[in-house]
Amino acid sequence: MSESKSEDKVIHIALAGNPNVGKSVIFNQLTGMSQIVGNWPGKTVKKAEGKCKFKNYIFKIIDLPGIYSLSTYSIEEIISREYLVEEKPDYIINVIDCNQLERNLFFTTQLQMLNRPMILALNQYDVLLRRGFDINEAKIEEMLGIKTQKVVAVHNRGVHELLEKIIEMEESGKIQNSKPIIFGKEIENEIQRLGSELKSNEILQDDSYSLQFTAFKILEDDEHIKKHLIEKNDNQLDHFLYYVEEKRKNLEDFHGETISTILNSEIYNIVNHIYEESIIIKKSSRSFKVRNFFDHITVHSIYGYLILAVVLLGTYLLIFNFGNMISGSMDKLYENLTPNAEHTLGGVDNWIYILVWNGFVGGLFAGVGGVLPFVIPFYFFIEILQDIGYLPRAAYLMDRFMHRIGVHGKTIIPILLGFGCTVPAVSACAIMETENQRKSSIIISSMIPCSAITTIVMGLVFKFRGPWVTLGLYLILLSVIIAIGKILTIFSDVEESELIIELHDFRVPNFKVIMKQTWHRSKEFVYLALPLIIILGILMQIFVEFNLLDWINVLLSPVTEYFLGLPLEIGVYLIYGVLRKELNLVLLELYVDSQGILMDEFLSPIQMIVFTLITLLYIPCLATFVVIRKEAGRKFARHLLFFRLLGATLIAGVVYWIFQFVSNIKPDWTFGYQIAITILIFFLFLYIVVFLIGKFIKHRDKGKRRRSHGFKEFAEIKSCNNCSKFNKCDYKTNSSCNEFESLE
């Protein structure tokens, strides 16, 4: 740290807590603009770090992802847990929403078990008061043994006091670690015993995990802890693990529940006690009547959908028109400036003109004019919906339909955004809860035809072939998307795609927060995508200059000409689309014009469809690619690119060859009939492919047995309604339930 004075002490702080409690607002209040937002290495999870100087200390703060528990349900939980135990921040600030004390304290108790210095931020205190409650801070401090601070993050109240309390602890010299929690007698005994086992056998060789946390988690059969301990002990752990297994079995048999259920219920008992002791009811409030009405109507079976349609369509049209307006005037500006540039830069044929104006400035305008006017308003729009709390309601309403195409209900948001612009759609996939869901949604939403693609479809297929053929084309696209969704479901855990989401109360949007977030996201995008777009623009001009285009066409001809039956010259226009999708068509039109023919002379009806289909399905545009790479990592982006290219070529090829087949058998039919039959045969083909993949995967998985708690086995046992021990019952092997018989 060169810029800091030597006496400034550095204190590392981690903000941890449930989603939506206000961690990021606190983080922003503390760090202001000095923050770096990136991803956790190789993950789709956001990582925000920043620092602030306060009273001779430099605080380095990290905003951990919002989680509900320190188990290993999601990648966020694993990341947070590993960060806390391995990086060992000096203090943990556990941010909680004091309006949902019980559920938040559930997480607090898990943090407490880590036995690290910790402080509790009781956030959204303003809302609590407004609701007519209050909280007894002293009681909480006493019962949990940690310092607390009331905070109203959005008004910057109590935020810096958090740091003051930390400094106080630091300077008083008695940094208190959070106390271990005390469970009910039975569990407490087990944990104590396991703890002393761990200690006396020196199993826990380092101090990364605390004794209580390890004992608790090993009793819970937590895979990560188990692996950690086995590694530390060179696999000499069978004896201990067997011992734990015994203990666990005893508890499960006694309670007739799975171990995690027993332990979690135990924690909730403690938490519930704290809640009842510390919440003070003052008066019942009025202002919540109005909100209740909104809460009710937005999830209503009829009005809910109407509101959803209005919200999405309205915003979409608004942004679309706004974007087109700006984008159009930017294009005009470019055109108007061109003659001047020609003059100054030495004529159309001068290579400086071509590189600088066509390449650099052209690329700049393509990026700034063609992408930003859509991207920024869309970011703004997502932030507003996120901030007022509408998104979970949309997910609730659409979950059923989204399930049909194999994705989580929340994916409706990126999908709808995708009709405007794929870039914000891909960023919006960050709202999904697990890494797999995020990746599935990125795959699906990046296939939604954006406004640029719609321009191509309208300007080519619709214009020359009419509405029915256009509909057919979209049906092909839809069927492909559904097929991909189905294939993704085959690979994913069924329960993982089940919706579990919090519908928190509506909030009045906080425009400062929204503007800040929009700014951050747009800035990121500009830094990442704009340079690439400009470089590509210049590269393409170089291609033109050195006459490399013909070579590209020849190089692509085995695919374009022979497999897809397209004209040779079209190859290079497919490459232009990488920059901006509509360039595919715009530049092709220019070329066809220059040849003195009409578009429908240049492309036969089926060629038009194949060309458009390829454009719909193949690589996403450069800006999208950049965002995918940022959100999901290089490897994922590369794979996606590869499969999109391959898939698009295959699908367009299949459609082409089916059409060839149909038109050879029935040459006297009109084009419309031929293409209709082609599409039907294509559906059948797709169905068979998905079916076969499903069969193949199931067959392959048959040998592998899942964990005893796994979903598949449960599915076989669930017919036993007679006994409670569903995962122990031998119903499927004995064809009768032991428990049931013994009862009779």
């Binding site: 259920t261 089940e498 519908l503």
Partner: protein, 86 residues
């Protein structure tokens, strides 16, 4: 005698899906997989928890429930595996 009463009680467990709206019930079992159970308890649903269904989205959509002062939406498939009694 005690055993058969116990037995009867078992039969009175009903999936939460079949409970009318706005009725207070308490969770008896969660017969879901390991991860889903973990997730549900993180969100406040464990055996013994008092819950209440507020609404359900059409066509076997998710249900909206009230748990420990928060509202959650839970997918139909998973809701089928939460057993409650009145």
């Amino acid at each position: 005698m005690v055993q058969s009463k116990n037995n009867l009680e078992k039969f009175s467990e009903i999936p939460i899906i079949n409970i009318p709206f706005n009725t207070n019930v308490s969770v008896v079992h969660i017969r879901a997989g390991f991860k889903a159970t973990q997730r549900l308890s993180g969100m406040g649903i464990t055996p013994g928890t008092q819950i209440k269904i507020l609404s359900q989205a059409p066509f076997r959509g998710p249900i909206q429930i009230m748990v420990r002062g928060t509202r959650l939406a839970i997918g139909y498939g998973l809701a089928m595996k939460i057993f409650v009694k009145q």
